[in-house]
C-alpha cells in the first residue's frame, strides 16, 4: 500500500489536494468510492482507533473517510490517500482529517461529501446531551449512524434512535452470534414449546449487551423475561430458564466457539466470534436502513 499525505490546509482546498494526490500517484489507480464514512472522535484514543480501523476497512470497501475532531480553531483539514496494494487492485481511498470548532464541523463535512453516495456516521464514545444542535445536524446528513452502547449507554442510544433513521449499535452487533445460537435452539417443535415457558435468562457478559439480549427476547416473545447479569468483558454464557428446563449457550474457555445444548438436543459446537471493531463496522457499512429487531430490543432494554 502506498500512502500520501498533505499538510494542514483550508477546508476549501481539500478537493484540489485530493485531486493532486490522485494525479501524483505515479501509476494508474481507480477511484471507485462506494460510500462516505464520517468518524467522530472525541479524544486522542478515538483518533488512534479510527486510524487503525480505517486502515483495515479501506482494504475491503472503497470509501471517502472523514475523521472529525473538535478543536478550538477554524476548521482545517489534512488529506491523505492510499492505493496500490496487491489485494486492492489499485483502488484509491481518500481520508480527510478535519479539526476545528465543533459548531463549524457539520458544514465542513457537508461540503466534502461525495455526492449521491450513502453517508455513514460512526460516533465514538459518549453521545452529547439531548437537544445538541451539532449532533442533530450531523444526523441530518447521515444515511446510517453507528454508535456503541457499551461506550455511550443504552439510554443515550435510545435517545438518538428517536432522531436517526437506520441507527445501529455495535454492542447489539456483538450479540449477533449469540442470538443466532439461541434461535437455533428453538427450531425443533418440542423445544419451541418450551420457549413459551421462558421466564428468565442469566447472562455472563457486559451489562448493555446483556440488556439487549433480554430486550430482544422480550420483544420477540411479547412478554416479560427476567435478566440476571454477571459482569464480564465479553459475553461468555447465556442460560435460558424455561420452567423446569434450561437451555445453555456457553463459550469454551477463551475460544471463539462454544457449545449449545438443551432438552432433547445433542450438544453442538457453535461459532461465537468476538470480532474486532473493524470487522463489525465493515459489516455495518454493507447495510442500509433501520433494523426493526434492534429497535424493538433497544426499546425493551431501555424500558426495563
Amino acid at each position: 500500500m502506498s500512502r500520501h499525505q498533505s499538510g494542514w490546509i483550508d477546508v476549501g482546498e481539500v478537493e484540489r489536494a485530493l485531486a493532486a494526490l490522485r494525479a501524483g500517484e505515479g501509476h494508474p489507480s481507480v477511484r471507485a468510492t462506494t460510500l462516505n464514512l464520517v468518524v467522530r472522535c472525541g479524544n486522542a484514543e478515538h483518533l488512534k482507533t479510527a486510524n487503525r480501523v480505517l486502515d483495515r476497512i479501506g482494504s475491503s470497501r472503497p470509501l471517502r473517510a472523514m475523521i472529525v475532531m473538535p478543536a478550538t480553531r477554524t476548521p482545517r483539514a489534512r488529506v491523505s490517500s492510499d492505493s496500490g496494494d496487491d489485494h486492492r487492485r489499485g483502488v484509491f481511498n481518500e481520508l480527510v482529517e478535519l479539526r476545528g470548532n465543533r459548531v463549524a464541523l457539520p458544514s465542513s463535512v457537508t461540503s466534502l461529501l461525495v455526492a449521491d453516495l450513502p453517508v455513514f456516521l460512526w460516533w465514538q464514545g459518549e453521545l452529547p446531551p439531548e437537544g445538541d444542535a451539532v449532533l442533530e445536524e450531523m444526523i441530518e446528513l447521515t444515511t446510517r449512524m453507528i454508535v456503541d452502547s457499551d461506550q455511550a449507554g443504552i439510554d443515550a442510544v435510545a435517545r438518538v434512535d428517536a432522531l436517526a433513521t437506520g441507527l445501529v449499535d455495535l454492542a447489539w452487533v456483538r450479540t449477533g452470534p449469540w442470538r443466532e445460537a439461541i434461535a437455533a435452539l428453538f427450531d425443533g417443535r418440542s423445544q419451541r414449546k418450551l420457549l413459551d415457558h421462558l421466564v428468565a435468562i442469566e447472562v455472563s457478559g457486559p451489562r448493555n449487551q446483556s440488556a439487549l439480549l433480554a430486550g430482544w427476547l422480550r420483544s420477540r416473545l411479547g412478554r416479560e423475561v427476567g435478566l440476571d447479569t454477571r459482569r464480564a468483558v465479553r459475553v461468555n454464557r447465556v442460560r435460558l430458564i424455561c420452567g423446569d428446563e434450561s437451555f445453555l449457550v456457553e463459550r469454551s474457555g477463551r475460544n471463539e466457539h462454544g457449545i449449545a445444548s438443551g432438552p432433547g438436543l445433542a450438544p453442538r459446537t457453535v461459532a461465537l466470534p468476538s470480532s474486532a471493531v473493524a470487522l463489525l463496522l465493515a459489516g455495518e457499512l454493507d447495510r442500509l436502513g433501520a433494523e426493526r429487531p434492534f429497535e424493538d430490543a433497544l426499546a425493551e432494554a431501555q424500558a426495563a
Binding site: 470497501r61 483502488v91 471463539e256 449449545a260 432433547g264 454493507d286 433494523e291
Partner: protein
C-alpha cells in the same frame, strides 16, 4: 422422523442476519473421492460452514467405492480443502467442522449398498434431531446417474418429497433423446421439483448480476430491445486446449460442452422478459420462454473450427490433432461461431451472435450489447469518423464488470468525437471476497431454492436448438484456426455479411 417446527414458527428467527440455511440437512456426495468433490464441493461446504451459513444441524456423508472410515475421510477432506479452498483452514474451527463429516463405502450398482446408506443417513438424521432435509449430490460420471437415482428410489431415500433433493451435474444427456431418457429415469424416483440440475456458470456472482443489472435499473430496460439494440455478441473464450480431457472432448465437442448449457443459459438471461418475482418458477418460466422463441442453430449461419498450432500468451502450443488421445482424422469442433435468432416481440430482427472455443487469444466470457447508431449525426463526417456505436459490455470473467461505450468530445480545437469507455469494475467497488459459484449453488440446494438451477424444459429446448447442427457437423471438417487467434476467418465473414464485426474482448 420427528416433526419439526418451520423456521417461521420460531419467533427468534425473525430479523436474524446471517441468511443461511436454518433447517437441518444432510448432504450426501456420491463420488466423494472424485475430482469435483475434492476441488469444489468439499471446499465449498467448508467455506459455507466457516461463514456460518450452514444449518446448525448439518452433516455430510461421503459415498464412494473406496473403503475408508470417517476419520480417514476427514483427513482426505482436510487435504482437499487445504489444496483447493479459497480460504485457509482455521485449525480452531476444523474439529467442529470435521465432526460433521461421515463416510459410507459402497458401489453404485447394488441395491444392498443403498439400503445400507439409508440406514446410515437415518442414523445421522436421528443424531441431529430428526426431520433433516436430504440432498444427494451426484458427483459422478453421468453414466452412473440412472443407477444411482434408481438405487435411491429402491431404498426409499427419495422420500419425503418435500425434504429430499437430488443434484446432478451436466451433461444432462448428449442429445434431446438421451436427455429425455435421463429425465424419464430420474423422474421414476424423483419429482421434477426435487431435481436440481447444476450449471456452475449460473452461480457466478457476475452472471447473477445480469438479473440485478437488468431488473433493478430503470434506465436500461426500456432500450433493451430490437428498437435500440442492433445485435448482441456473447463470447465464451478459453485459452486452454483440451489438456487431459481429449477422450471426453472427442465425444462431446464444443456445442455439447459449452453452447447447449452455459452459453444458451447466459443468452436466456440476457433475452428473457422480466419475471414477476425473483423466485424459482417465475425466473425459470421466463428463461424457458426465451429459449422456446430461439430458432435452432443452422448450418448456413454457423462456423466450426478446430485449433491448429500457434502461440497462446507467448507459449507455443500443439495442434489439436497432436494432443494425446486425439485421433489423426478427428473432426471434433473446438470452436463455434453462430447467429441465433429469437422470434419474439422484443428481439425479432436483432441477432445474437455467439462464439466459443478453445485455445483462443485469451480467457474471457462477456456479453456485448451493441446499440444502433443515432438516426442522424449533426456533425461533420470528419468530426465523427472515429465514433463507434454505443455498446454495453457485461464482463463475466475474468476482469468482472460492466463498461459502457459512448461518444465524447476530444479536447481538440476542431470538433472531434471519440468513443470512450465508462468502466465499472466489480472488484473495485466490492473488494470483499467473492464466494465461489459452488458455495452459492450448494447453499441454494440445501435451502431448497431452485432459482439458479436448470429445469428440464430448458434442457430439452436447448438440445432442440443444438441437435440439428450437431447432426450436420457429424461429417465434413472444421476450419483450422491458429491457436492464440480469435477463431477462423469464416467467423469474421459470418458477421461481415450482415455488415457487422466481432468486437475484440
Amino acid at each position: 422422523m420427528s416433526q419439526r417446527a418451520r423456521p417461521e414458527d420460531n419467533p427468534l428467527r425473525e430479523g436474524l442476519r446471517v441468511g443461511g440455511a436454518s433447517e437441518p440437512a444432510l448432504f450426501t456426495i456420491f463420488g466423494a473421492t472424485g475430482d469435483l468433490a475434492q476441488r469444489k464441493l468439499l471446499p465449498a461446504i467448508y467455506n459455507l460452514a466457516k461463514r456460518g451459513l450452514l444449518p446448525p444441524r448439518f452433516g455430510v456423508v461421503g459415498y464412494a467405492r473406496t473403503h475408508m472410515g470417517d476419520d480417514a475421510f476427514r483427513r482426505f477432506a482436510k487435504a482437499a480443502i487445504e489444496a483447493h479452498s479459497r480460504t485457509p483452514i482455521d485449525e480452531r474451527f476444523w474439529p467442529a467442522f470435521a465432526s460433521m463429516l461421515h463416510y459410507h463405502a459402497g458401489g453404485f450398482d447394488d441395491s444392498a449398498h443403498f439400503h445400507a446408506l439409508a440406514r446410515t443417513v437415518d442414523g445421522l438424521d436421528e443424531q441431529i434431531g430428526g426431520g433433516a432435509h436430504r440432498v444427494f449430490y451426484l458427483s459422478t460420471p453421468s453414466s452412473f446417474f440412472p443407477v444411482i437415482v434408481k438405487g435411491l428410489g429402491a431404498a426409499k431415500l427419495n422420500r419425503p418429497t418435500a425434504l429430499v433433493r437430488v443434484v446432478i451435474e451436466k451433461p444432462f444427456g448428449d442429445d434431446l433423446q438421451s436427455a429425455r431418457a435421463l429425465a424419464e429415469t430420474v423422474h421414476r424416483s424423483f419429482h421434477e421439483r426435487q431435481v436440481y440440475r447444476i450449471d456452475h456458470y449460473l452461480g457466478k456472482e457476475t452472471v447473477q448480476n445480469i438479473y440485478a443489472f437488468r431488473f433493478a435499473n430503470a434506465i436500461f430496460e426500456p432500450i433493451w430491445s430490437n428498437s435500440y439494440v442492433d445485435h448482441v455478441q456473447i463470447t465464451v473464450a478459453e485459452s486452454l486446449g483440451v489438456e487431459h480431457r481429449a477422450a471426453f472432448y472427442e465425444e462431446t465437442g464444443v456445442v455439447r460442452d459449452i453452447v447447449q448449457n452455459h452459453l444458451l443459459q447466459v443468452m436466456a438471461l440476457v433475452a428473457m422478459e422480466p419475471p414477476a418475482a425473483f423466485e424459482a418458477e417465475s425466473v425459470r418460466d421466463e428463461k424457458a420462454k426465451a429459449l422456446r422463441a430461439t430458432r435452432p442453430l443452422v448450418f448456413s449461419d454457423s462456423v466450426r473450427g478446430q485449433y491448429g498450432s500457434g502461440y497462446v500468451a507467448g507459449e507455443e502450443v500443439l495442434d489439436y490433432h497432436q494432443e494425446p488421445k486425439v485421433p489423426a482424422d478427428s473432426n471434433t469442433p473446438t470452436y463455434i461461431a453462430a447467429k441465433l435468432e429469437i422470434d419474439n416481440w422484443r428481439w425479432a430482427g436483432t441477432p445474437f451472435y455467439i462464439r466459443t472455443g478453445k485455445r483462443l487469444a485469451k480467457r474471457v466470457t462477456e456479453v456485448a450489447v451493441q446499440f444502433k447508431r443515432p438516426p442522424h449525426l449533426p456533425f461533420s463526417r470528419e468530426a465523427a469518423e472515429h465514433l463507434e456505436a454505443n455498446s454495453l459490455v457485461l464482463r463475466i470473467q475474468p476482469d468482472e464488470g460492466i463498461s459502457l461505450r459512448f461518444g465524447a468530445k476530444a479536447p481538440t480545437p476542431t470538433l472531434s468525437i471519440r468513443s470512450v469507455n465508462m468502466d465499472f469494475q466489480y472488484g473495485s467497488s466490492f473488494l470483499a471476497d467473492v464466494p465461489e459459484a459452488y458455495e452459492t449453488l450448494l447453499l441454494d440446494a440445501i435451502r431448497g431454492d431452485s432459482t439458479l438451477f436448470t429445469r428440464q424444459d430448458s434442457v430439452e429446448r436447448s438440445w432442440e436448438i443444438c441437435d440439428p447442427l450437431i447432426e450436420q457437423w457429424q461429417t465434413g471438417q472444421p476450419q483450422a484456426y491458429a491457436s492464440g487467434s480469435w477463431g477462423p476467418d469464416a467467423a469474421d465473414e459470418l458477421l461481415a455479411r450482415d455488415g457487422r464485426r466481432w468486437r475484440r474482448p
